[in-house]
């Protein structure tokens, strides 16, 4: 399309696209920066767009083996006095909490010794970039378990949705039975229910089944709308797969089962990948159902949600938690992107 535009039109289009991209990218970038920021940087204004990798302090020697630390907050006042101490523990603590630097206090004192002979000077230390991430898992002790739970519930949801959804989709595509249209519409209606709306009855049901606060119970709830969606997506693909491909397999030695496994399923793989993406998304992103249906076994999204909601200071830890939540989703999407491209990329089946 770009080829048909003249230079002015091209420029306008480019500017609009760049603007749109900025709207999307800048908040994400800022968020990423926050997750790498230490407490001191968090209190600064304006904030940097890119995270710093080192921290520089100005040190003046004081009496009794003490040192006075100065830090430049970037507010135009230059170096400001922060702390005066001779205690290794205090220094270590300060560097850790305020700057996100993991370093031994004795080592700092040894470094500062230099100022006794050479006079006041600056010292630069490397930031521990993963400090917030470590801190997130430290502050919220069940975050590790929650990450595991999220992965389990996502895989279970994908498994349940794909198994039942693709079977339903295949039946819908290949067999003409009584009530086929009705089931088709019913599947769509199931998807119309907001998950929150059915959470309370689901909770009661799961408690009775002994599946309350389990990942299987949660996966069952997430699968309800996704089985419907999966069967819709897959049945349209199954319809598109020429029946002769299956018939050829039947003539050339296949039975119904290995024909489905060796011929139909691989050909429908892009549809499976697309459906699994939706299932994953439901299970990975949900907080509200998890809030209602779990107590001990929380999912990562719920944990991050709670971290954001309850911490007034240390929002950088919550940001780190959010990044932890985003990365697996990104990885998953990139893995299956190729197959979804096949589905909507016009590749002949």
């Amino acid at each position: 399309m770009m080829d048909r535009l003249n230079i002015v039109q091209k420029t306008v289009v480019a500017i609009i696209l760049a603007g749109l991209a900025m709207i999307v990218i800048i908040p994400l970038l800022f968020f990423l920066t926050v997750s790498f920021s230490n407490a001191t940087e968090m209190s600064q204004f304006p904030k940097n767009l890119f995270p710093s990798t080192t921290v520089t302090v100005y040190v003046e020697p004081e009496e009794d083996g003490a040192y006075e630390l100065f830090y430049d907050y970037g507010d135009g006042n230059g170096y400001t006095s922060v702390i005066t101490t001779s205690s290794a523990d205090k220094l270590e603590n300060h560097f850790n909490r305020q700057y996100g630097i993991t370093i031994d206090g004795e080592e700092l004192l040894a470094d500062f010794e230099q100022t006794r002979t050479d006079g006041p000077m600056e010292f630069s230390y490397k930031k521990d970039m993963l400090y917030n991430f470590k801190q997130f898992f430290k502050i919220i002790p069940n975050a590790g378990a929650a990450l595991k739970n999220s992965i389990i519930v996502s895989l279970l949801t994908i498994l349940i949705s794909l198994t039942f959804g693709s079977m339903a989709g295949y039946a819908m595509a290949r067999f003409h039975f009584k009530g086929r249209e009705q089931i088709n519409v019913a599947l769509l209606i199931v998807r119309m229910f907001p998950t929150v709306g059915i959470s309370i009855p689901m909770a009661m049901l799961l408690i009775r089944m002994g599946l309350f606060d389990t990942m299987l119970g949660l996966a069952l709830l997430y699968s309800v709308p996704n089985i419907a969606l999966t069967s819709w997506i897959t049945s349209s693909i199954f319809i598109g797969i020429n029946k002769e491909l299956e018939e050829a397999s039947l003539v050339f030695g296949g039975n119904r089962f290995n024909t489905f496994m060796r011929i139909t399923l691989p050909l429908a793989f892009p549809a499976m990948a697309a459906s699994s993406m939706y299932s994953f998304q439901t299970a990975w992103n949900d907080t509200i159902s998890a809030l209602i249906l779990t107590s001990e076994n929380q999912t990562l999204a719920l944990v991050v949600y709670k971290a954001i909601g309850t911490t007034s200071s240390g929002i950088q830890y919550a940001a780190a938690g959010s990044i932890v939540l985003i990365i697996p989703a990104l990885v998953f999407t990139f893995i299956i992107r190729k197959y979804i491209g096949q589905m909507w990329g016009g590749v002949e089946l």
Partner: protein
């Protein structure tokens, strides 16, 4: 006992629905190349799908080598099939496509490789074994389908309009190719098509079907020169046979076929057969190739009508003259009068008594 025996075969898609295949009986000998020919919806594809087991049989029996196969699964019947869409699996390489039936038979790897390579050689696709079907042309995919079909060494080869997706030129060359492979493999084949020139050029015998029934079984020469029914006479031949509604009248010691613009003396050899039809309406059929044109309006032996040429369609090797005889449009195949001008008055004669009469009720040929 014939190799393949079809007995009173019937097919209905719904209970009490119409018979798609209506009491079909057919015997095929080993090594024959049989073509099922007919317009779409005549039941030819349904029939070979019943032979392959992809379609259930509603009545009758099918026997291969004296053994009934109708209760067997498709994979147990020892048949192989080439589909209209080729049905090549796009997620497998050419090698895997051809090897699929052998892998399911759990043959040793070395043997699979040997047989796949032999099949690839026979179909001239040795160089393509590692490729995926999406990287291949229609003709090459067709060859893969053929290779897969011959690799299983089937008792019976079924081909369901395998050439209809190819372009015209390739179709003609693949015809020869398929016939060559059939002969080289010594297989027994059934080929379904609605293209009469395909049928004529490939078949040992043609089975012409119409509305679920067999109209005629015969060699290409037989169905052309000795059509059994009006449908066959109309379906075989390009352009199709010209038909005229005539009434048989007695005149002296001969019979006259007389109709709208037509007056034709029935040949002596048909006299006895036509005698019962005196005073009745029959269909008279004359192939365009057997119509002779005389510009001098001379009523020669076999004279049937006077007319005026409306259009001329030159075909290079011959021309088709389009005329109206009475209210019927008649096409005449000519090599003598290729550059005739439209508007020329001509007399039309039937060459060498090459005329066919058909009963109006049964549509059977009267002879």
């Amino acid at each position: 006992m014939s190799y393949l025996e079809i007995k009173n075969l019937q097919k209905r898609y719904t209970k009490n629905g119409p018979l798609i295949v209506d009491n079909m009986n057919l015997s095929i000998e080993k090594g024959e190349f049989i073509v099922f020919l007919g317009p779409s919806g005549c039941g030819k594809t349904t029939t070979i799908r019943m032979i392959s087991g992809l379609e259930e049989v509603s009545g009758g029996d099918i026997l291969i080598d004296g053994e009934s196969i109708i209760d067997k699964k498709p994979r147990e019947r020892g048949v192989s099939m080439i589909f209209q869409s080729y049905a090549i699996w796009t997620h497998m390489t050419v090698f895997d496509n051809i090897a699929y039936p052998l892998k399911l038979q759990k043959l040793p790897k070395a043997e699979i490789k040997k047989r796949v390579e032999a099949a690839a050689k026979a179909t001239e696709i040795q160089g393509l074994l590692k490729r995926y079907p999406s990287q291949m042309s229609g003709g090459q995919r067709q060859r893969v389908a053929v290779a897969r079909a011959i690799v299983v060494e089937p008792k019976l080869f079924l081909m369901d309009e395998p050439l209809s997706n190819l372009d015209a030129k390739l179709r003609v060359s693949m015809r020869t190719e398929l016939k060559k492979i059939h002969t080289a493999q010594g297989s027994t084949s059934i080929f379904v098509t609605h293209d009469q020139s395909e049928a004529m050029s490939m078949a040992d015998r043609i089975v012409i079907m119409y509305k679920g029934k067999i109209e005629q079984i015969g060699t290409p020469m037989e169905v052309y020169h000795d059509s059994a029914t009006r449908f066959v006479a109309e379906f075989i031949g390009t352009p199709p046979t010209n038909f005229f509604d005539v009434v048989i009248e007695k005149e002296g010691d001969g019979l006259i076929a007389s109709g709208d613009g037509v007056r034709y003396r029935v040949p002596q050899k048909l006299y006895n057969a036509m005698l019962p039809y005196v005073g009745k309406k029959v269909d008279m059929g004359v192939r365009p190739e057997f119509m002779e044109v005389s510009e001098d309006m001379e009523k020669r032996e076999g004279y049937m009508a006077d007319t005026v040429v409306n259009f001329v369609e030159p075909q290079g090797s011959h021309s088709i003259l389009i005329t109206n005889i009475g209210n019927t449009v008649a096409k005449i195949h000519t090599i003598e009068h290729m550059d005739m001008r439209p508007g020329t008055k001509i007399a039309v004669n039937v060459k060498n008594d090459n005329v066919m009469f058909f009963d109006c009720d049964t549509s059977f040929r009267i002879k």
